[in-house]
């Protein structure tokens, strides 16, 4: 009998507390509802972002890893090319190649030399003429 009363008491307490809770939820003020609405929209924006750009989520870390690997490879190659006693000649040769390449670059970027490049055919023809032919052309 006591157990039945206890169960009934539990049921009443559970029902009453549930009723109070539901009443509180139903009577939330407009300000709180508005804030909850904004919070929900922010969460939905986050979900949209996550769903619509799943590739970017993987690409960005993968790109970072690839960049790091490239930098490591470059650093390793530089370390491999440090001068050693028996390889000084090779280093000097490669330094000469680099200097030549820089000179070529200056030649190409120099605006005065660009005119020369544009009239290359003429200068090639001029170079092919014999020295004796030139004064005759001038005389003519």
């Amino acid at each position: 009998m006591n157990r039945m009363d206890q169960n009934q008491g539990d049921d009443v307490m559970e029902a009453r507390s549930r009723e109070l809770f539901n009443e509180q939820v139903a009577n939330l003020d407009g300000h709180t509802r508005s804030r909850l609405n904004r919070v929900r929209q922010a969460a939905l924006d986050a979900a949209r972002h996550e769903m619509q750009e799943p590739i970017m989520r993987w690409l960005m870390p993968a790109g970072g890893v690839a960049a790091l690997a490239l930098m490591a490879l470059f650093g390793w190659q530089v370390l491999q090319q440090t001068p050693e006693p028996g390889k000084e000649v090779v280093v000097a040769e490669s330094a000469g190649v680099i200097t030549g390449a820089v000179d070529d670059l200056e030649l190409i970027t120099d605006s005065a030399e660009l005119e020369l490049l544009q009239n290359m055919d003429f200068y090639a023809w001029l170079g092919s003429q014999t020295d004796s032919a030139l004064p005759a052309a001038e005389d003519g």
């Binding site: 206890q6 008491g9 539990d10 009443v12 307490m13 559970e14 009453r16 507390s17 549930r18 109070l20 809770f21 009443e23 509180q24 939820v25 009577n27 939330l28 003020d29 709180t32 509802r33 804030r35 909850l36 919070v39 929900r40 922010a42 969460a43 939905l44 986050a46 979900a47 949209r48 996550e50 769903m51 619509q52």
Partner: protein, 211 residues
Amino acid sequence: MRLANMYASISPVSAPVQMVEYRSASLTEESTLDHIHDLEQFLASVERRAFQIARMALRDEDEAMDIVQDAMLKLARNYSARPCAEWRPLFYRILNNRINDHRRRRVVRNRLFGWLPGYQQEDGEVGDPYEQVPDTRQEPCEQVMVGHAMLVLEQALAELPQRQREAFTLRNFEGMDVAETAMAMGCTQGSVKTHYSRAVHTLRDRLGEVW
């Protein structure tokens, strides 16, 4: 459809392939929109109840709002791709974890800074001096809704051990079954039954006289 016609006019040879691609892309977009719509409905269905649970546990509306926001964002970012049936226990699990973290931080904060004059103790015993100024405005919501019984219930719930409070909240307020509650609490169904039974007995002892 206009986009598909445009594809056909540009390259008629590969048009069928592009039509398939376009159709699959639009289907993916549709399913994403459906999923977002489902998520919105789910969040709308639980947001007020979640806020009320957090408010009762922390007895602070602003903190409760922050916790609901955190829980929604975490669910949306990390678990929105999961099946809809899993959202409810996951959401309440996140919410309960946030509430417990917050309560722990509050206890530590009170221990560290509680000796400072004017520092707000737990349950708002002492607070900001400006907040102590009596508000003479009528608060109809509190007058109408928050009765004595509700305040007593909140107090009794706040004094329950954490796991018992979670079990009672999820089972009684949210109407979850034992399996769902176990998933939300991250424990076995037997533990849920034990926690819930103890919570009910404790609450009945404390609230029986008032109600």
